[in-house]
Amino acid sequence: MSLVFWLKESFAGFFREKGSAFISFFVNTFFFLIFAIFLLVTYNLYTFTQKVKQKMEIDVYLVEGLTEKENEELKSKIIKIEGVEGTIFRTKEKALKELKNYLGKDILEGLESNPLPSSWVVKLKPAYQNLEKMQKISSQIAKLKGVEETDYGKFWVEKIDRLLEIFLWINLILGILIVTGSLFLMIHTLRTIRQSKAEEVMLLNLLGAERSFLRKIFLFEGIMQGGVCAFFSLLILYILHRFFIYFGFELDFLPLSLSIAFIFFGFLLGGVAGLLSGGKKLN
């Protein structure tokens, strides 16, 4: 039987029992909206941590009196270390200027000479921006000739790593709870619609409809409802997002790929709920 028939049937089935179908639609859209808000928050927290991680670097302070040749040799050795993406040289003068900008000019006004050493700022590849790997790279660099000291902001790296770990677990638990909740809610609401159509299901049985035929009806109804609810919840999320932006909140909306994936997830969840909601009714 054609896909058009099933789509037509599932749409018609939805509108045939307007009361229960619309209650189900609103309840499911609300649940999908909660999930979409969760995704939006997750996405924004993720991009924030990525931005923070991009700033995670190792400062390599050099010994006094290093020749240009020795400095170049040191650079090439650092570059060869696994996980290093690039290096930027920071002269004594630049370091002082940065410090002045940070502390304010007046505090350093009385200095007769520049006490700050020259340094290499070592940028790391994203996969190496964590405590364990930064520690390893830092100690490798510290052993190189011409290096006085290395600093990778251990305190902050530790904090960020811990936060990321907590964030990941909370996300995972919340995600599982929301998805499971959505699934059960959809099963329940689809069953409610189905009960109002029990007579129709009975007639289909008497006309000799096979289980696969009934399953397809339930599957397509679920897919349709899941997809539509996901789409509308995304639309509401977009309106809410614009509202927050209007009031000055810096929030990114879900990227297109994630939005499309979310709607597909709606189809999938709806389909699973549709199949699971059939149960004993099929008999």
Binding site: M1, S2, L206
Partner: protein, 221 residues
């Protein structure tokens, strides 16, 4: 040798409320036979038909349709068996929110027939029952008699082996009822077994075929 298409052996049906609907019924119906089941309200006609179309199961005894037991547990075989039947329900069981043509097309879609065949078959039957011009209407928008015709058309559309009708003349006048009996005769002439239940004994007074009379769940003749 007789070609038996419906067979009931010692069938008794007792509902959960302990009401005895049928008592030890033995019945054989030959392939291609046209017969009536008559009896007053509560005699057991509807129960008999429900046992045949497998909406109910006998409390004891066995029912066979085309050699297959109605107690078959394999869902696929039950579906296959039901597809051999054309059913006219007392309450019609039309799909309220579907047009006349969709109501007729549905059994064929259940059977997986192609849309071209469905379209031509639906048009043919709508024409036979003078309903073609009303094909886009909903059942509630046509008269009670026309709804009855639609239910009968749905029962025959899949060219079943057996037609089972529960009060197919309910609410119809004698002329209308005779028209419908004539239609069933034509269907029967093509080889379909027709088994109709009615409480209106006046309609079968001149009927030449077999008439089974039920009284308090027992066959009287």
């Amino acid at each position: 040798m007789k070609d038996i298409i419906i067979k009931a052996q010692g069938v008794t049906k007792i509902y959960e409320s302990f009401k005895i609907a049928l008592k030890n019924i033995d019945l054989e119906i030959e392939k291609g036979e046209f017969l009536f089941l008559v009896g007053s309200n509560g005699a057991g006609k509807t129960t008999s038909l429900k046992l045949l179309w497998m909406e109910e199961e006998p409390s004891s005894g066995m029912v066979f349709i085309d050699g297959c037991s109605t107690l078959e547990k394999d869902k696929k075989r039950v579906s296959d068996l039901r597809r051999k039947l054309g059913l006219v329900f007392e309450d019609l069981k039309l799909m309220r929110k579907k047009t006349l043509e969709d109501n007729l097309a549905f059994p064929l879609r259940v059977l997986g027939k192609n849309e071209k065949y469905i379209k031509s078959k639906v048009a043919e039957l709508l024409g036979t029952f003078n309903l073609y011009s009303k094909r886009r209407l909903l059942p509630e928008e046509i008269s009670a008699g026309e709804r009855k015709k639609l239910a009968i058309a749905r029962a025959v559309i899949n060219e079943p082996l057996i037609i089972l009708g529960d009060e197919p003349f309910g609410g119809l006048d004698e002329n209308y009822s005779s028209e419908i009996i004539d239609f069933f005769k034509q269907v029967n002439f093509k080889g379909t077994t027709v088994f109709l239940a009615t409480h209106r004994t006046n309609l079968v007074r001149n009927f030449k075929g077999r008439i089974i009379q039920l009284e308090n769940g027992e066959i009287r003749r």
